[in-house]
C-alpha cells in the first residue's frame, strides 16, 4: 500500500466518522451494544442534550473533533509559535517555564490602620502584591464627609481621603519589594498622584516602585457604577493618567487595565468579551496617541482584563483568540508589525458571578476551574476571588487560599511545563478559530456604531449584558444550567461552619473625626490655590485646551487636599454622570 496523501487521509477519516456514527455511537445510545458498552455508574442511556453548547453559549460543541475540523487551519499562519505573530500560543515565548506566580492580594476595609493590619499579616504569609480595595466614597470622589457617604465609609474597601491615609495603609511594609496599586477607575489621575506622593514621602524614587492602576472608566459606565463625570471627560482624565505615566514614570508603573470582565459578569458571552474588550482598548490608545505618546510606548503598559469562566476549553480558546484577533486587527489598524504593539498582555479575574452563597466551600473548586482555564490560556496575571465572596468581605484565610490556588496548580500540577500545552487539540484549535471569528463580528458591530465611546453612551453594552444575564437566570431557574447547592443537590442545612468577616462599626465615625482634625493642621492657602489650579485646568478642558491634570493633582495631594474636595471642585466644572437606565 503506497503512501496516502493528506487529502486521501482526510477522505478516509470522513468515511470512518460516518461509519462510526452508524455503528459504535448508535449502539451505545440505543442500548443495542449492552454487552460491548457495559454501562456502569455514571453512564446514561442518552446524551444529556441534543445540542451541546459551550459555557457562554457561543459555541456549538460536537461529539468528537478530529483532523477534519482543523484541516483548513494553517499552523504557521494561524497558530504559530509563542512570542511571535499572531501570538495565539502566547505573548511570552517561554510561557510559564520561567515563571513564579506571586501571591497577590486585593483587599481593604475600614480605616487605613485596619487594612494595614491585614496587609502586614498577608506580607508575613508571603504576599508580594498588595493592592487596595477602596471604599465607594473614595472611588466616587465623595470622601468620608459627603452626605451620600454616610453608612458607606470603609464598607466595601478602605477609606482613603489623603496621601496620609495611603501611607498609613501601607505603613511598615517594604514598598520596594512589593507590587501595589488599586482599581480607582474614575479617579485615575488622583490615584496616580497618591502613589507618586507615597513614594516621595518615603524617599523612594519611582523606578523602585511597581504600581498598577486599573484606570478604566468604561468598566464603570458599563456595569460597575462608580462614575463621577460624564463619559467623555472621564475618558480624558484616564488618558491624562496614561500619558503622564508614559512620559514621566518607568515601565514598572502600569497606568491602565482595560477591563471587559465586568461585561462577561454582566451577562455577555465569551465572543462578546473578545470583541467588546478589543473595541474598548481603541479609544484609550487613540487618546494617548493624541496626547503625544507613541503607540509602541502605550500598548506594552496596557493589559486587557478579562474574566476566567467555567468552561475550560471555551476559556482557553477565548484567551488565544483574543491575542490572535488583537494582533491581526492592530497590525492593520495601526499599520505596524512592531511586536510591542501586536502582543497584548492578558489578565484574568476569576468569574465571581459563578460563585454561590450556598455551600461556599464548593467555590474553591469553581475558582480552581477558573484559574486552570486562565493558566492553560496563557494569561500573564490572575486576580482571584475568595470562596466566601458571596457572603461578606473575605476573611484573611479565604483571601490567602484564593491566591494560593494558582501556585498549587503551577508548582504541583505540572501544567506550566510546556507552553500552550493544549495547543494542537482538534477541539481547541477549531474553538479558537470560531471564537476569533465571532469576536471579530462583535468588534465590528461596535465599530460600526462609531466605536466604544458611542456604544457606551447609547447603553449598548448594558443592553447586551441584560439580555444575556436574563437568559442565564432563566436557565438557572429551569435547571438547564446547573449551580450545585442552588438548583441541584440543595441541602437543607449546611453544617460546615465558615467564619464570616465583620468590619469595625465605628470605622466611619473615627475616620471622619480624623479628617476633620487633619484639615485644621493644613496650609489653607495652599489648598485653595491647588483647587483653583485644578478648576482652571478642568475649565480649559471644557474649552478644548488639553493640559494634563496630573501635575496639579500631585501638588494637591502633597498639600493634603482631600479626595472629596478635589472631585467636588471638578464636578462643578466637568459635570455629573447621568446613568443610562436599561433593563
Amino acid at each position: 500500500m503506497g503512501k496516502r496523501t493528506a487529502e486521501q487521509l482526510l477522505q478516509e477519516l470522513n468515511l470512518r466518522l460516518r461509519e462510526w456514527e452508524e455503528s459504535e455511537v448508535k449502539e451505545r445510545l440505543t442500548g443495542k451494544g449492552a454487552e460491548r458498552f457495559h454501562v456502569w455508574y455514571g453512564a446514561l442511556a442518552n446524551e444529556s442534550k441534543p445540542e451541546t453548547r459551550s459555557g457562554s453559549g457561543d459555541l456549538s460543541i460536537k461529539r468528537v473533533y478530529s483532523p477534519l475540523d482543523t484541516a483548513s487551519i494553517s499552523y504557521l499562519d494561524e497558530i504559530g509559535l509563542p512570542g511571535q505573530f499572531p501570538f495565539t500560543r502566547g505573548r511570552d515565548p517561554v510561557g510559564y517555564r520561567a515563571w513564579e506566580w506571586p501571591l497577590c492580594f486585593y483587599t481593604g476595609y475600614g480605616r487605613p490602620q485596619d487594612t494595614n493590619a491585614r496587609l502586614k499579616k498577608l506580607y508575613e504569609m508571603g504576599a508580594r502584591e498588595l493592592d487596595l480595595a477602596f471604599d465607594l466614597p473614595t472611588q466616587l470622589g465623595y470622601g468620608c464627609e459627603h452626605p451620600l457617604s454616610f453608612g458607606e465609609v470603609g464598607k466595601v474597601g478602605v477609606v482613603i481621603d489623603t496621601a496620609q491615609d495611603l501611607a498609613e495603609a501601607y505603613s511598615g511594609l517594604p514598598l520596594e519589594d512589593l507590587h501595589i496599586g488599586t482599581v480607582g477607575n474614575c479617579i485615575g489621575p488622583w490615584v496616580l498622584a497618591l502613589f507618586y506622593v507615597l513614594g516621595e514621602r518615603h524617599g523612594i524614587p519611582p523606578q523602585n516602585l511597581h504600581v498598577w492602576l486599573q484606570n478604566d472608566p468604561f468598566k464603570e459606565y458599563n456595569g460597575r457604577g462608580t462614575c463621577i463625570f460624564p463619559l467623555r471627560p472621564a475618558l480624558d482624565l484616564a488618558a491624562d493618567t496614561v500619558a503622564y505615566t508614559c512620559n514621566h514614570l518607568p515601565l514598572s508603573w502600569e497606568p491602565q487595565y482595560v477591563t471587559v470582565s465586568m461585561l462577561r459578569w454582566g451577562g455577555c458571552s465569551a465572543a462578546q468579551e473578545i470583541g467588546f474588550g478589543i473595541a474598548n482598548i481603541i479609544p484609550y490608545v487613540e487618546a494617548a496617541v493624541a496626547k503625544g505618546i507613541k503607540i509602541e510606548d502605550v500598548i506594552p503598559r496596557f493589559n486587557l482584563h478579562m474574566s476566567a469562566d467555567n468552561d475550560l476549553f471555551e476559556e482557553v480558546a477565548k484567551f488565544r483568540a483574543t491575542r490572535k484577533l488583537w494582533a491581526k486587527l492592530a497590525k492593520e489598524r495601526f499599520n505596524t508589525t512592531d511586536p510591542r504593539v501586536l502582543g497584548l498582555r492578558l489578565t484574568a479575574v476569576t468569574s465571581g458571578y459563578r460563585l454561590a452563597r450556598q455551600e461556599p466551600l464548593n467555590n474553591i473548586v469553581r475558582l480552581t476551574m477558573h484559574m486552570l482555564a486562565a493558566i492553560l490560556g496563557g494569561v500573564e496575571h490572575i486576580v482571584s476571588m475568595a470562596y466566601d465572596e458571596a457572603l461578606a468581605l473575605p476573611t484573611i484565610e479565604s483571601t490567602y487560599l484564593s491566591s494560593m490556588i494558582k501556585v498549587l496548580l503551577h508548582d504541583e500540577g505540572y501544567i506550566g511545563n510546556s507552553v500552550d500545552p493544549l495547543g494542537g487539540s482538534y477541539f481547541l484549535e477549531r474553538a479558537t478559530v470560531d471564537l476569533e471569528e465571532q469576536g471579530q463580528h462583535w468588534y465590528q458591530k461596535v465599530e460600526s456604531m462609531g466605536g466604544a465611546v458611542e456604544a457606551t453612551s447609547k447603553g449598548y453594552y448594558l443592553e447586551e449584558s441584560a439580555k444575556g444575564m436574563y437568559k442565564l437566570q432563566k436557565q438557572l431557574g429551569n435547571g438547564e444550567r446547573v449551580l450545585i447547592g442552588v438548583n441541584k443537590y440543595k441541602r437543607k442545612e449546611t453544617n460546615i461552619p465558615i467564619e464570616i468577616f465583620m468590619g469595625n462599626p465605628d470605622a466611619e465615625k473615627l475616620h471622619q473625626e480624623n479628617v476633620v482634625s487633619m484639615k485644621t493642621k493644613r496650609d489653607r492657602n495652599k489648598v485653595e490655590s491647588d483647587l483653583g489650579n485644578l478648576k482652571r485646568i478642568a475649565e480649559g478642558k471644557m474649552a478644548g485646551k488639553d493640559e494634563n491634570i496630573v501635575p496639579a493633582m500631585i501638588q494637591a495631594v502633597r498639600d493634603d487636599v482631600t479626595v472629596g474636595e478635589i472631585f467636588d471642585s471638578l464636578r462643578e466644572i466637568l459635570g455629573e454622570y447621568r446613568p443610562v437606565i436599561v433593563f
Binding site: G225, L476, G485, N487
Partner: protein, 137 residues
C-alpha cells in the same frame, strides 16, 4: 382602581452593581407587573418619595455593599413619617446571616440573597401586593 401590580425596584446608596435589581425588574415586567427601576445612587428620601408619588404596591431595595441596615432603617422611618408604612418593603443582595432577624424586626418583609430563584421572587411580590391591597380595603 389600578389593575397591574406596581413595583419599585430601587438601589439606595453608592453601590453600582445593578444586574440583580435589573433581573428582578425584568422578570416582574415579563410577569405583567408595572415596574419602576430607579437606577443607582438613590437616597432613602428619593425612594420613599417615588413610592408615594407612583402609587407603588411593593418596594424592593437592592444592596450589595453592606449598607443595607443603614438604608432599611431610613426607608422604614420615612415610610412611617409619610403614613405609607403599610407598603411592604423587601430586600435583595448580600446580607450577613446575623442581620437577618434584625432586618425582619425592622419590618422588612422579604429577604432575598444570592441564588434565589427569580420566579420565587415574582410570586412572592404578587402575593404580598394582593394581600396588602385586600387588607387596605
Amino acid at each position: 382602581m389600578k389593575d397591574h401590580i406596581r413595583v419599585l425596584i430601587a438601589k439606595p446608596g453608592l453601590d453600582g452593581h445593578e444586574m440583580g435589581a435589573k433581573m428582578v425588574a425584568r422578570a416582574l415586567k415579563d410577569a405583567g407587573m408595572e415596574v419602576i427601576y430607579t437606577g443607582p445612587r438613590q437616597t432613602a428620601a428619593m425612594i420613599v418619595e417615588t413610592a408615594a408619588q407612583e402609587d407603588i404596591d411593593v418596594i424592593g431595595l437592592s444592596v450589595l455593599s453592606g449598607t443595607y441596615m443603614h438604608y432599611c432603617s431610613q426607608v422604614m422611618d420615612l415610610l412611617k413619617e409619610k403614613g405609607i408604612e403599610h407598603k411592604p418593603v423587601i430586600l435583595g443582595g448580600i446580607m450577613h446571616p446575623q442581620d437577618l432577624p434584625k432586618l425582619q424586626e425592622k419590618g422588612i418583609k422579604g429577604l432575598f440573597g444570592p441564588g434565589t430563584n427569580l420566579e420565587h421572587i415574582v410570586e412572592y411580590i404578587r402575593n404580598i401586593a394582593l394581600d396588602t391591597r385586600r387588607l387596605k380595603k
